[in-house]
Structure formats: C-alpha cells, structure tokens
Amino acid sequence: MPKLTFPRMGESWRTFKMLLEDLGNEVVVPPRPSKRTLDLGVRYSPEFACFPLKILMGTYLETVEMGADTIVTSGGVGPCRAGEYAMLHHKILKDLGHDIKMIVFEPPRLQPLNFIKNVRALNKNRTSIRGIIAHIKRAWRKLQALDNAEKLSHVVRPREITRGTTSKMYRRVLGWIDQAYTTEQIIEAETTALKALREIPQDPDREILKVGIVGEIYVLLEPASNLEMEETLGNLGVEVERSMFLTGWTRDNTWTETTEMMSVKEAAAPYLPELVGGHGRDSIGNTILCAKRGFDGMIQIAPFTCIPEIVARTILPRVSRDYDIPVLTFFLDEQTGKAGMSTRLEAFTDLMRRKKRLQKRHFTLTG
C-alpha cells in the first residue's frame, strides 16, 4: 500500500491526515521543520530558490526516509514560482534516486479532469461521491476550528498575566481538536477550546498594540519558518492579526473570489492593479485595509528573493506614507537568526508604542 505524505503548513496537517486516512490511505505525517530539515533542503535545492521550496525539499527528504512514496501537493498556474515547485521537487528527488509518485492538484476550475483523476487516485476505499463530499466537509470544519483557535490565541496572548500560559493552553487545545472525529465532536472540541483560551487570566488594562501581518502564505502559516514571530510579538504585548489563513486562502483560490478578497483587490488597485502572483497584491490591499481600521503597524514577511513580495515591498513605502502606518519588512531565509529578528521586533514595537502615546497626548491636548 502506498504511503502518502504532503507539505506541512502550520497545524493544517491534522486535517489533511484525517481526510487522507478517511479515504483509506496510509499517511506519513511530515515532521515539524527543524535544523536538519533545513540542512537537507538547502543542500539539494537551487541556491536562489525561495525559502518554502527549500523547507519543503527537506521535509520531503525526511518523509522519504520515513517510508513515504507518494507526495500529494498543490500546483498552480503562475506567475509565482510556487506553481513549478512540484515539478522541480519531483525532478530533484528522481535525480537523488528516490522513485516517488507525485499527485499534484491544479486549480479545479481550470483543470477539472486533473482534479477528478487525482481524487480517484486518492480514494482507496472507493467511497461514493457523496461520502467524499461528507469527508471534505468534515475536514473543512476541522480546518476552521484550528484556524479559529489560532486566531483567538493571538488575541489572548498579549493580555495574559503569566507569560507562556496561552502557548501552553493552545498546544493542549490543538490535541482536543485533533482527536475530534465527527462534525459534532469537532464543534464541541472547538467550543471547549475557545472557552479554555478565553478563560486564561488576562490583564484588561494593559496597553495593547495592534499589528497586521501580511506576506507570503507559507512563511505566514508555518511558525517554524518565521521563527515563531507571532508568539514573539504576543509576548511583547502586541495583538497580531494575520491577513491569511488556510481556510480563507483555499476558498479564494479553488472556487470563487469572495467579497473579502474583492475589497482587498479594490483597496490595492490604486497602487498595484495587476495580479503579480503569490500574495503581492494582497499584501498591499491588506495594509491599506488595516490602516483604515486603525492598526498601529504592519509587518510584511516574505522569503528571500520572493518576486511578488519584492514588487509589493517596492510600493509599500508609498502606502506607508500615504496612510501614515509604519511597515516593517522581513525577508527570511535559512540564515535568519532569531535574536536579530527579536531585536528588530522590539525596536519596532517601541516605536509604535511611542507613536501611539504621542497621538493620544495630542488628542487630549487639542480635544
């Protein structure tokens, strides 16, 4: 029986594992990216490939060692490089002598046949179409539950009284959601999880900064690749709102363009009317939307040499000036160190806090 694996992106692996096992496959869970993952990835990937490609390369090599022989992943139609990943990974793995099968999901609306063929290949149990839809619905609900728990943890963390409680509780809560199987169980686990997170002792008087995070999806979603930036910020007393979650992204990219996306597009139009691939336009649109909602600052994170984010980064200083919102950019690669990043984040937070206090004093004086 073939052993399946898939790219790891944050906590979403719990859902994919459940879905693939429901369809009757044996799954090798990709390990959390570590130093060794990176070393492997960097050794066999092209030097200037972006960071996600290198991490995935390393993850695939690790899962191959663990016995995986089929990789399920996503494709794409450009102009971002991510659409060519699967092809390149396959070629490199073959060159290294691993005989791996790749199942690549292209956008189903553009290539419906490819989608049906792939689903059939994965459907080992010969589940009926209705059964598959039910499985997908349940998996989707689980993904939403995971995202909701993460969103709430970002709100609670800066307000917690004892540092580290939220992270500890969040990790425990993930286990609950992970164990839930039926839809009712998932909903129940989600409710308990959100309740448990809310009940963490919090300090209501603390001065909290609100920061939006935009950028490339992989480094946004995988905490191991952005050196747990959200946790670091939370500990600095910053409430983080990430512009992208897997549920939102999947909806936008597989089926329809939602109303939320439309407004991001419209917001970005005066600065970047063209889709430059990846999330370049979203980064600009979300920065504008967050500025309008009164955020204290924005952080853009992107892999080194990421083309769409370079385009966005070139335009962002103008957006920052026009909307009076500070923007800090991190280009991440395997050389990025946690200490350097923490220092920059601390400085950025101090500046934002100062700006906020000055504005407040200004208001009290004039008003």
Binding site: R81, K91, I307, T314, F331
Partner: protein
C-alpha cells in the same frame, strides 16, 4: 507635434524597441532612449531600487532616472502576455507601479496593459489605447502598427542570422549604410542562454559576448534559434511548461541544443536573486547531467561583478573545452 516619449534601454528594449520606434515615429511622436548602461546609471539604479531586487530591475530604475528629465512621457507598458501562452516575470507585471510609487519627479507613465490572452485583437487594442494618448486615430494607428510589425519581422530575421540586437537595430536604422557583417564562423561554438536584457547589455554582462568573440568562440543565443524549432520542443519532458516567456525559451533552447549536440558548450548567464532563474537553472543543470559530452557552466552576475573574475573563469572554461575538442576530434 513635438512630444517626446522616453523608452528606457533596458529589459524589453532588446526585443521590442524596433517595433516601438517604428510605431511611434509613424504616429508622429519623437522617441528618446536612455544612453547605454554606464557605471553611473547602474549606481543610480542601485540607490533607488530595493536592495532585494535583481540587477536588471535595478538597471531599469537607473535608466528611468537617466531619462526622467529628457522626455514628456515615459513608456513602460505592462506586458503580461504576448504569445497567448506564457507570461512575463511578476516584476515585469508590476514594473510601472514599482517605478511610479518609488521614484519622485518622473514624467507621466504610459502603462497600457498588453495581454494577448484576452482575445485576438487585444494587442492591437492596446496600441490603439497608446495611440489615443497622442491623439492618433484608428487609421493612423493601424498603419503604424502594420509598419511596426514589418520592422519587427525584419529585426527578428536579422537576429536569427546571428546578429547581436544592437547591431541589428543599427542596421534597421540605416539599412544602406554598410554591408551586413555576419559573425565569423569559428571552430568553437558556445550557446549562451539567459535573458536578452542581461546577455546583450555589455556593461552588466561584463562584456561576455565580446570576451568570447576575442577568444575565438562563436556564440549562439536563444534568439538566434528559430521559434518554430523551440516550439517543437513541447514541454521538454516536464508535466508543465515554465510560466515565464524568456525562461521557457531558454529551457527549450537548452533542451534542443543538448539533444542535437550542435554546440561545444552551454553557458547560462543568470542574475543574482533572479526568481525564475532559480528554477530554470536547476532544470538546465539536471538536463546537462544527462549529456556528459557537452560541458555546462553557470555564470552569475550582480552589481559587483568584477571584470577579472569573470575573465578568468571564461578563459579557463574555453581552454578546457578547446583542449577537450582537440583531444577527441572525431567526436563531431
């Protein structure tokens, strides 16, 4: 009408300048270009552009800075797709926006979107829109478009004969000036793959083509190969083609040259931090592994590339290929 239109001599200049020049001359607009790349232009570009951008983009910024006081309009079209199949690098798609929002005091930019995937006449419609900026009507634009198209065909034919774009442009400007000097044949023939805007800009490529010529090596680039031959390579054994026009052409050229063994060595010229090249280069490298009798080398350029380092590497490589060829003369 005495409006001056500035076209930076970087990026797509090497492929479409003859077309644009013929078109704008016909509708009565004077075209000015930036001077050829100098240290000064590069420095200006490096100062203005984002540090993480690749050299060709920095160079484009430099050329725009060079032009900005010399013209009334800047022509930076948003070229998305021209052949209906492959698109251009995301940096090309966002080029007008990057220029507009990061440089101050630049003349108005004409950034018409050209996307051939939106119907048969979409390219012509884009030029109609460009014409409307200068008050040119349907008929004038149609005539200009036709003339420009003829010029582009002539230009491409010259390129296929093995001419360098700058020489070909010169020849198109004054056709009767002098006899066409075709590159001399020599017993060593290298393929230089890479993007036209890097290979043919002799400053940024550290005069790669000139150096090879001096060493008695004749050069073949992807532009010298008939597009039909390239199209026949299909997807080079991959499930999908590369998305980007220049990368796609380079990969197909590599595939074709390796399979037919028409060259003695293959060089890939890539710019530091080039996104599409990181993928393309690996594919060419893996392809080269299967054809061990054709040596392959990657040369990387950036704004700090030194003359001496490049020359040493090239000399060593050429010597090695030459010795190899002399050792087994019966191979070809």
């Amino acid at each position: 009408m005495n409006k001056k239109l500035g076209i930076p001599s970087a990026l797509l200049y090497y492929i479409y300048y003859p077309f644009w020049q013929a078109f704008f001359n016909e509708i009565g607009v004077q075209v000015v270009t930036s001077s050829s790349t100098t240290k000064n232009i590069l420095d200006k570009g490096v100062r203005e552009a984002l540090a993480d951008a690749c050299v060709p983009i920095k160079l484009f910024f430099g050329h725009v800075m060079d032009l900005k006081n010399k013209c009334d309009y800047l022509f930076i079209p948003r070229v998305v797709c021209l052949n209906g199949k492959t698109i251009y690098c995301p940096k090309f798609l966002g080029l007008p926006d990057m220029i507009r929002h990061s440089l101050d005091g630049i003349p108005p930019i004409i950034d018409v979107r050209i996307d051939a995937r939106q119907g048969r006449l979409s390219k012509f419609k884009a030029y109609l829109e460009i014409g409307s900026y200068f008050g040119a009507g349907h008929n004038i634009v149609l005539k200009a478009y036709y003339k420009a198209w003829i010029t582009l065909r002539r230009y491409n034919r010259l390129l296929r004969k093995g001419l360098n774009p700058l020489d070909a442009m010169e020849h198109i400007k004054n056709p009767n000036d002098k006899e066409l000097i075709l590159p001399a044949k020599s017993n060593l023939k290298f393929a230089v793959l890479g993007y036209p805007y890097a290979i043919y800009d002799s400053f940024i490529s550290v005069n790669l083509l000139g150096k090879l010529k001096k060493m008695g090596v004749s050069v073949l680039t992807a532009e010298n190969i008939n597009p039909l031959t390239l199209a026949l390579q299909k997807n080079c054994g991959l499930p999908k083609r590369l998305f980007w026009t220049f990368s796609d052409a380079a990969l197909k050229a590599a595939h074709y040259l390796f399979r037919h063994g028409r060259v003695d060595a293959v060089l890939h010229l890539t710019a530091f931090g080039c996104g599409p090249d990181s993928i393309l280069n690996k594919f060419i490298e893996l392809e080269a592994k299967q054809y061990r009798d054709i040596p392959f080398m990657t040369l990387m350029i950036d704004e700090h590339t030194g003359e001496a380092g490049m020359a040493t590497r090239l000399e060593a490589f050429v010597d090695m290929v030459r010795r190899r060829k002399e050792a087994c003369p019966c191979r070809n």
